[in-house]
Amino acid sequence: MSGQLTIKQLEQKAAEVRRSILIMLEAAGSGHSAGPLDLTDIVTTLYFEIMNLDPKNPEWPERDVFFLSNGHTVPVQYAVMAHRGYFPLEELQTLRKLGSRLQGHPERTKLPGLENTSGPLGCGLSQAAGYAYSLQYLDDAKHRFVYAITGDGELNEGNIWEAAMFAGKYKLSQLIVFVDRNNIQIDGSTEDVMPLEDLHGKWESFGWHVQEIDGHNIESVIDAASMARAITNKPSVIIAHTIPGKGIDFMEYDYRWHGYGKSPNDYTRALKTLRTLNGKITGEHE
């Protein structure tokens, strides 16, 4: 079960997760920085507060499920899962290494607790919609929910809008999607590469209930998810405005950090920055 932590404790947990992400990426020597760091507050809140789950029984039939559509941000999911007790924290060091269960992009068959395999963009939302369809129409399981995260650059993919039409048609009200609206993608600003606005209006016109929140405000994340669960006649999207690289001042807002650091020093510097986040980290630091 979730929901045991206070907001303050969730914030502290998110700070610990950010620290783990940086350590993982430094050990891996490659991987994405900006997305995992800006999604940390949302993913931490999902796993520690919002979702019904049992880390010791990942296939628990009554669980809520989580589909990560933008698979390149999986370091945040791995880090949160480890902190939540799915597997030992030490295993995070194996990210992207030969023989690891923590593949560079998530593979369901490798790690219990993952619901899907993703990386090539645009197909995680459909998988979440398929699961939500099953809960609503085939399983009579109205108490379970499907949470998904997509990137914003990912919304360039046609498959996303096929899924949006499908979920709208079937009013998949147990499907709750967070869009990581960090405004960056590999080649630059989303609005320069392929404009997404009016994003709110786009989703609305596809038949979705739309909310916009500060993706770093944990209370807002919790409230928006509650509101989404209360909507019973349409799927929900929560456009979460986030700061890419959140928590590391020299990474924030800089699209060049979509990818990975140029040298191990970047991560050492980032960890140092994290430690300056007054009182938010309770663990021991080197």
Binding site: R108, T109, N116, S118, C123, S126, Q127, A129, L138, M165
Partner: protein, 332 residues
């Protein structure tokens, strides 16, 4: 003689014909009757792909997807994660033609038991022309790890194959043809995933066929017999995994192999046999099928003749092949 029960009217002009997809329709309904986990999804082609039979029987387990093949297979992947056995159907040109990467990532790599039904494969689609005549699907699907690839030879076998893939727990591709296809098997004929069947025994050449071309090979073998050539016909409905044992046993005996498919021979069924023989039993090989070109509009039987895939044309090709090349144990 072979112990495979063949349709006794096989060589008659009156041989019964039925579209292979009709067998799929019946098979899926039968599978749905015994297994409630089976669900069906279609991209706006319910009647053409015959998934309509299931839809009418189990409307609550049918999901209309609209013309969106990428969503078709990825939603199916999500349904499979929720414990369902999804059958997805469209024309093979669109699925797996358009959505191959989604199949690769969310079904094959993700190892989910989604069934991809590609109807209207091959040139016998006819007047719709090259855009709709899918010829590359065997190649696309057989290179995917975890994927089973089945191309039934007639409607009776398609029914059995549908029931078999419903129960195999694996990602699977079923290749169907549009046109009425002569029925060579019977209700008593065996079908098992991964098995090839000797339909006709002979010692001069092994004719290996998949899908609709097995019938044409049987016709060719009969014509060859009249010229004193004893051809062995091996029906290979499962392209992956290949029944290496049955195929090698036949080729070891005859010393020459011919493959036939209504698809590109490059990387298709002929490609699979060439790989097998190249590694395990180097043998003179003739691959019949589409040779690096697309189809075109025309009547189905006209096209089969135009591309040299009818029994009589095949018999001529095989005759020349036999005259030209030695058996493997004579030449190697």
């Amino acid at each position: 003689m072979s112990d495979y029960p063949l349709n006794p009217d096989l060589y008659s002009d009156e041989v019964k014909k039925e579209p292979i997809r009709a067998g799929f329709g019946r098979g899926l309904k039968a599978a749905g009757e015994t297994n409630e986990a089976i669900v069906a999804l279609c991209a706006d082609l319910t009647d053409s792909t015959q998934i309509s039979v299931f839809k009418e029987a189990f409307p609550e387990r049918y999901i209309e997807m609209g013309i969106a093949e990428q969503n078709l297979v990825t939603v199916a992947s999500g349904l499979a994660r929720a414990g369902k056995i999804p059958f997805t159907s469209s024309y093979a040109a669109f699925s797996p033609g358009r959505n191959w990467e989604q199949i690769r990532t969310t079904i094959a790599l993700n190892d989910q038991p989604v069934k991809i039904i590609g109807s209207h494969a091959g040139v016998s689609v006819g007047p719709d022309g090259a855009t709709h005549q899918m010829l590359e699907d065997i190649a696309l699907m057989r290179v995917l790890p975890n994927m089973t690839v089945v191309a039934p030879g007639d409607s009776i076998e398609a029914e059995k194959a549908t029931l078999a893939i419903a129960a195999n727990g694996k990602p699977s591709y079923l290749r169907l043809a549009r046109e009425k296809t002569p029925i060579f098997s019977t209700n008593d004929s065996p079908f098992e995933i991964g098995k090839a069947y000797v339909l006709r025994q002979g010692h001069d050449v092994s004719l290996l066929g998949t899908g609709t071309m097995t019938y044409q090979l049987l016709v060719a073998a009969k014509a060859l017999e009249e010229q004193g050539v004893q051809a062995e016909v091996v029906h290979v409905p499962t392209v992956k995994p290949l029944d290496e044992e049955t195929i090698l046993e036949s080729v070891r005996k005859t010393g020459r192999a011919v493959t036939a498919e209504e698809a590109q021979i490059a990387a298709g069924f002929g490609g699979a046999i060439a790989e097998l023989l190249g590694e395990k039993l180097p043998t003179p090989l003739l691959r019949l099928g589409m040779k690096d070109h697309f189809g075109e509009s025309g009547k189905p039987d006209e096209l089969i003749k135009h591309f040299g895939l009818d029994g009589q044309a095949i018999a001529k090709d095989i005759q020349q092949f036999i005259e030209k090349v030695p058996r493997y144990h004579q030449g190697f």
